[in-house]
Symmetry: C2
Subunit: 207 residues, 2 copies
DNA sequence: GACATTTTGTGAGCATGCTCATTTTTCCGC
DNA sequence: GCGGAAAAATGAGCATGCTCACAAAATGTC
């Protein structure tokens, strides 16, 4: 069980590295699982002993790419900005990490977006949870208390919308994306603060 | 050219009706294009003379479902509520129309979500454009002027987030979805108004 | 080292969305 | 109604993600 375990880990790593190169070179859709297996030097079926499906390979790569962000963010210097500023910095740092995967992000969105579906690709799901935990922690740190589920829901929606905008082939330049992030967070934090004083205004627009 | 055209239209309609039944009975993924073609009584390949791909069939069905909304909304009585209230009513009415397709919506999201991609499924794309036009028209009507692209972008993100939440198999009941809609619109309209007075506060959280 | 057991590798085969060369049907001028 | 052209239908075939029964290798036990 010694040699095997190491060999398995190495094979897994070779799959990931090979897939990364192929995805980068030809894109996700154009890279077939047979190609990847061939390039790694394993049988086609063996690939699926390591990952449940093709998407999981990509999800793992993307999750790995953002893994370092945790530490980076927790180590930030204690001179803090506003909640909005820190949130901006956090997301912008994440975008930097995700940059190599920009065009592939939309593949994962369907899986990552749906909060309730229990981890079609585990990597992505934990990515989501960790991201939201970080945001919640940050909010609490800035005296906003525990964000209710609806706030996290709205934040996540805005975040996904940002990623989608960013992931498009066409025009969106880095600065456009950051401008959208700026607007998104302004809207979100503005709403958070306005919710605070009056717990629930008498709005009843039922239909 | 008379008989043929009518026959074509009828076949197209039969495909749509059959697909609707199959999708409703077994879901989108589980209904194969061969099944649909068989049930209609045409060859498998013929299906693709009528629709470019399977998703386009669903997109057409969904677009048709919401087609009536245009008229319904334009005919609303002149006693108006606030922008937020009217927007709420508009979206809620749309949800009612989309209800039979609730579970299938996520299939379309990747196609519908991406604004720049030029109409992978034309039906959906025009659905998006029309929806945004209606929102813009409504905003103008309420003295909010022409909504800039970023506003529409944010609105659309929130709308898609709502649909995604709604489309989940799990818990979300109708009232939860409406509550989320309420929060989304409160956040959106609040931000719209706060943007008005001061054109651009000196925010510069660059990283 | 021989055996049994567990783990891992293998690739033929399946399902399904979609294509396309060929066949069949329809249209239209005469 | 005939003949050719245009349009439509057809289904064999392809690509690809994934499965699974079997083979091979590794591991543990004596």
């Amino acid at each position: 069980m010694r040699v095997t375990a190491e060999a398995k880990a190495e094979t897994r790593q070779r799959i990931l590295e090979t897939a990364r190169q192929l995805f980068a070179a030809s894109g996700y859709e154009a890279s077939t699982t047979r190609e990847i297996a061939d390039a790694v030097g394993i049988a086609h079926g063996t690939l699926f002993n390591y990952f449940p499906n093709k998407e999981a390979v990509l999800a793992t790569l993307v999750a790995d790419a953002t893994a370092g962000l945790h530490i980076d963010f927790d180590r930030r210097s204690p001179e803090e900005g506003s909640f909005e500023e820190e949130l901006f910095a956090f997301v912008a740092a994440g975008l930097r990490k995700l940059k190599p995967w920009r065009k592939q992000l939309s593949v994962l969105l369907e899986t990552v977006l749906n909060p309730l579906t229990t981890a079609a690709a585990d990597g992505s799901e934990s990515m989501r949870l960790w991201h939201l935990e970080t945001v919640a922690r940050l909010a609490k740190h800035h005296g906003l208390g525990d964000l209710p589920p609806v706030s996290l829901q709205l934040y996540w929606t805005l975040y996904i919308g940002l990623l989608l905008f960013w992931s498009q082939d066409g025009s969106p330049r880095q600065e456009d994306t950051l401008a959208l992030l700026d607007s998104s967070l302004a809207m979100f934090t503005g709403w958070l603060q306005s919710e605070k004083p009056s717990p629930s205004p008498n709005k009843k627009g039922r239909v």
